[in-house]
């Protein structure tokens, strides 16, 4: 069939990557660009994301694990060595410390001789979803929104091609959001930021349209890819509706819904992991099929993400999947495939109507910031996630290779065990710290101190923090120092965990059996079994810990859960003071070996060496064996989706320890 329309331009093809050190990541980036990747997507390690230098005690075991450590201007320059920044489009997954990493990026560009107005890229800078899902927040919501709006105001004026904020519904879906929740909560987050920017004195009313036009989104794409297509279409419609009605914008170009996508990691399975290759390709279809609602940039995860860190070859496969879709198929040649499809239109309308209602509800309770503080959104997500896990446990939601069609031939892909994932060398942390100490020794402390004072003054006087931060970047201030300055001014924040008010959802025969086993154990113990659910380290992905906490409560146990980012010391104190019968630790950042051993040793020192400890997370087999040998009772990985079985194990373990 002849096609009258111009073919669509391919989306930006990226891979979310970075690890070990700026030097190692730079080599990886240059390799990826050479294989046809058209943009960069930087993954920072957790200390960088939460504002700690690599030598901070909380950073132990986390340096270079889930991304690249960037402590200062030299690290940033090394990261983009031989990559001309005026010709690159860089997406940075950075939130609480977004203003700082952007300042380092601008400073590094200036040292390349590139002026800020030539830069293109994105800072994620969406703090609200950090409170709800990802957990790398540092400051209280109000202060965070101010930092976000500083970045928006600065870039709209000074880096016109920059996307200052990428509102992420991605992480909401990872935390369990239904499509309606994903749409509504993302829009509520955008409204919170836009309202804050509109209220600023330094943003004239006339530029509000441009601000609106610079706001981009970051969506998730799940395996129900037809519904996902409808979701993208619904968001496109709702966004332009919001722009017109709430902000009075009528310029069509500014009203366009621009979004990037990382396809779903939540649905990637550890069992028969090669099936993920197919899942990823189908999920990519969901966000590229509809031309009118097509993604602007796409990142695909690697098939073995549920096993550990992907190797270069694994990332290449994801890159090739995109390239086949963009260059080999005829997808880009057609106008929107769903024009006139009443089926897709009807589903889109349904989602739209439900999302409008949900958005209205959040706005009526005072908007997204209030709905974080009163835990409304968090509770809604925890509940949806609980329902999803239960559906998988019962086989109502089919996951091939996990709860159906489980038989499998031996896979040559994973035959070599842990050779099928990338291991970050422990020497990476040591070397990074050595470089940091060298950097601090070589800079002028007086200049750095003065520059920090400049940042503090800007914060207190209500000036935009960006110019002072760029000066601080040049003066050799480090990531930890910059963030400490903000901590001093704003204080630190803890978000509600959302589990406290989650309704009991468990029922059925399995639950009844489990509860009577817990009751019997309670009689033996003289009181109800009490479990401490702990999340040590900087990793903020709390879904697993939350689900365990809720399930344990529903099974009749008493659960102590204090939220994310606890030091081993705090966890051991809590285990002792609270008089628990068992400790469950959840770690997804790859720092499990170090942190768990540390906790075991401290328990021993407290005379609690007999207290049983179980661990859950993305833990490679070799590491699991090591942990079991060190005294951990059980290790659970993503393939252990049956929470009832885990609860049964806990009853056994506590029973044994008591005997």
């Amino acid at each position: 069939m002849p096609n009258l329309q111009e073919p669509d331009r391919p989306w930006l093809i990226r891979t979310y990557s970075g690890h070990s050190s700026a030097r190692a990541s730079n080599e990886l980036y240059r390799g990826n660009l050479a294989s046809g990747q058209t943009g960069l997507s930087v993954a920072f390690d957790l200390p960088t994301q939460t504002g700690y230098d690599s030598d901070h005690p909380l950073a132990r075991g986390e340096v270079g694990k889930v991304g690249v450590p960037i402590c200062h201007i030299d690290d940033m320059e090394t990261l983009f060595d031989q990559i001309p920044l005026d010709r690159m489009n860089t997406s940075m997954t950075i939130n609480a410390t977004a203003a700082w990493l952007l300042a380092l990026y601008v400073a590094a560009a200036e040292r390349q001789g590139v002026s800020p107005d030539a830069l293109q890229g994105t800072t994620q800078n969406d703090i609200i979803k950090e409170y709800l899902s990802r957990g790398t927040y540092v400051f209280p919501p109000e202060a965070s929104i101010r930092m976000t709006s500083d970045v928006v105001a600065f870039t709209v004026a000074g880096i016109p091609k920059w996307n200052p904020i990428n509102i992420c519904s991605y992480h909401l879906q990872e935390a369990g959001a239904t499509p309606v929740q994903e749409i509504a909560f993302a829009m509520a987050n955008a409204v919170a930021v836009l309202d804050a920017v509109r209220a600023r004195d330094d943003v004239p009313e006339a530029t509000l349209g441009r601000v609106f036009g610079r706001i981009s989104f970051f969506l998730n794409a799940g395996i129900r890819f037809v519904e996902e297509t409808c979701k993208c279409r619904a968001m496109t419609a709702l966004w332009s509706e919001l722009g017109r009605e709430r902000y009075g914008i009528d310029d069509e170009r500014m009203l366009r819904f621009r979004y990037g996508v990382q396809v779903n990691s939540l649905g990637l399975a550890e069992a028969q992991p090669e099936n993920n290759i197919v899942r990823i390709a189908l999920e990519a279809l969901g966000v590229t099929l509809s031309r009118d609602a097509r993604t602007r940039s796409l990142q695909l995860p690697a098939w073995n993400e549920a096993l550990g860190l992907p190797r270069p070859w694994d990332q290449q496969l994801s890159l090739r999947t995109q390239q086949i879709l963009a260059y080999e198929t005829d997808l880009l040649e057609y106008p929107d495939l769903f024009e006139g499809s009443h089926v897709v239109e009807a589903r889109t309308e349904e989602l739209l109507a439900a999302a409008r209602n949900e958005l209205q509800k959040v706005l009526e309770m005072g908007g997204a910031v209030s709905a974080v503080e009163n835990a409304y959104m968090k509770q809604a997500l925890v509940e949806s996630h609980t329902l999803r896990i239960r559906a998988i446990e019962r086989g109502e939601q089919i996951v091939v290779g996990v709860n159906r069609f489980e038989e499998t031939a031996d896979s040559p892909l994973t035959a070599d065990g842990d050779a099928s994932i990338l291991k970050v060398d422990d020497s990476a942390e040591r070397e990074q710290i050595e470089r940091l100490l060298g950097f601090r020794g070589a800079r002028s402390d007086g200049d750095a101190q003065a520059a920090r004072q400049g940042v503090e003054d800007a914060l207190k006087n209500g000036d935009n923090v960006m110019p002072a931060s760029i000066r601080a970047a040049h003066a050799g201030v480090t990531t930890g120092e910059w963030a400490d300055t903000l901590r001093r001014v704003f204080g630190e924040y803890r978000a509600p965990t959302g589990v406290g008010a989650a309704r009991v959802t468990a029922s059925g025969e399995g639950t009844a059996t489990l509860r009577s086993r817990v009751d019997a154990l309670s009689d033996d113990l003289g009181r109800r079994p009490k479990i401490l659910v702990g999340k040590p380290g900087l990793d903020g992905h709390s879904n697993g810990a939350e689900q365990i906490a809720v399930k344990a409560r529903d099974s009749g146990m008493e659960v102590v859960y204090d939220g994310i980012r606890l030091t081993p010391e705090e966890i051991v104190q809590s285990a002792r003071d609270e008089g628990v019968h068992v400790v469950g630790l959840s770690i997804l950042s790859g720092s499990h070996s170090l942190l768990v051993r540390d906790i075991l040793q401290r328990l021993d020192k407290e005379g609690l060496g007999d207290l049983p400890v179980i661990v859950g997370g993305i833990i490679p087999d070799d590491d699991a064996a090591g942990l079991l040998a060190a005294g951990v009772k059980r290790v659970y990985t993503p393939k252990d989706f049956d929470l009832s079985r885990i609860m049964g194990d806990i009853v056994d373990i506590v029973g044994e320890a008591t005997r």
């Binding site: 009181r527 529903d554 009749g556 104190q573 609270e578 005379g607």
Partner: protein
């Protein structure tokens, strides 16, 4: 793990005297244990603690209020202020139990800054279990354990209604935390809650006029109802902001004033005695039922017994009365 063993009580008494945190935790486990022999050991331990000269003059403060009012952050601010002044602090935080599963989600409330936990702050969360009032079975006994070690003991409860009555009985000062603009003053009044607290605090004073209005509403409602409990103390309505650390010193000073006044007027002692009677009655009724309680003369009989032996501890009395009921049962 926590089998009652000969010598356990002696060992725990020594550990508690030394302020050993492992011993505090084990003692709290013991007083929470429902097995018969553990219960006897627990009462012996508590009796031993009651007979011992306390190293300081412990004081108990209850913190209560509707969910979301900011009780935890206010308590956090109080505790940090007291800790920085060098006081030892024990906290019992009570959360509701699920009626269906019997389980409970605890914690998620205190996060003290600056590695506070090891420096003289001890936190134990408890589930309210099957008690309607919202207070844990073991709260009273737990408070007695913590009082033997720390100068300040705080009991934080979630909820509105019945739990205030119970917590009022086992603390020396009850602080009610109100949320600005929640419009719940009338609800409080209906529930009879306004009659119990000794101090009202409108938190989140950083909300400005809204907080101010709530304070005025509360103050005038209190003026209307009057306070018939005690002519020596009119419950004040304070403003505070846990977030901005405003009004915390004022709240502490008010608590101290309530304490000094109560000691002088004899109110404090009367209140503690009434609390002990309530504990004894509850404890016996829970274990032996109303029928068992009647065997020792009901609530009045228990009160008389406690009054007649002012030197003995309430825990020893409960132990004795329990044996009497059991003995009577065996005899009949």
């Amino acid at each position: 793990m926590s089998q009652a063993s000969p010598g356990q009580v002696t060992r725990l008494l020594e550990g508690l005297a030394a302020g050993d945190r492992g011993a505090i935790s084990e003692a709290l486990n013991l007083v929470d244990d429902r097995r018969s022999e553990q219960r006897e050991a627990a009462l012996e331990l508590l009796d031993g603690l009651a007979r011992r000269e306390a190293p300081h003059d412990p004081y108990r403060v209850g913190i209560t209020g509707a969910p979301g009012a900011g009780k935890s952050s206010l308590l956090n601010a109080l505790v940090e202020t007291l800790r920085d002044a060098g006081s030892g602090i024990g906290i019992i935080a009570v959360d509701p139990s699920s009626q269906r599963s019997g389980g409970a989600l605890l914690g998620d409330r205190m996060r003290l800054s600056g590695g506070a936990r090891e420096s003289g702050v001890f936190l134990r969360s408890m589930a309210a279990r099957d008690r309607l009032g919202g207070l844990a079975d073991a709260t009273q006994a737990g408070a007695a354990v913590l009082s033997s070690v720390f100068e300040w003991v705080f009991i934080e409860t979630v909820g509105i209604g019945q739990s205030e009555c119970e917590v009022a009985q086992l603390v020396d000062t009850l602080v009610f935390v109100a949320q600005p603009g929640a419009g719940d003053t009338l609800q409080f009044m209906k529930a009879g809650i306004l009659e119990l607290p000794d101090i009202f605090v409108v938190n989140k004073s950083d909300t400005g006029p809204v907080a101010e209005r709530t304070r005025n509403e509360l103050a005038s409602t209190l003026g209307l109802t009057g306070d018939v409990r005690d002519e020596t103390w009119r419950p004040p309505v304070l403003l505070a902001s846990a977030r901005d650390r405003v009004g915390i010193d004022d709240l502490l000073a008010t608590i101290e004033r309530h304490r000094a006044g109560g000691r002088k007027s004899g109110r404090l002692e009367a209140r503690r005695r009434a609390g002990q009677v309530a504990f004894a009655v509850e404890s016996l009724a829970r274990r032996y039922g109303e029928y068992g309680l009647e065997r020792v003369g009901g609530a009045q009989g228990v009160a008389d017994r406690l009054a007649s032996s002012p030197d003995g501890s309430v825990f020893a009395a409960v132990l004795d009365l329990g044996r009497e009921i059991e003995g009577g049962r065996a005899g009949s």
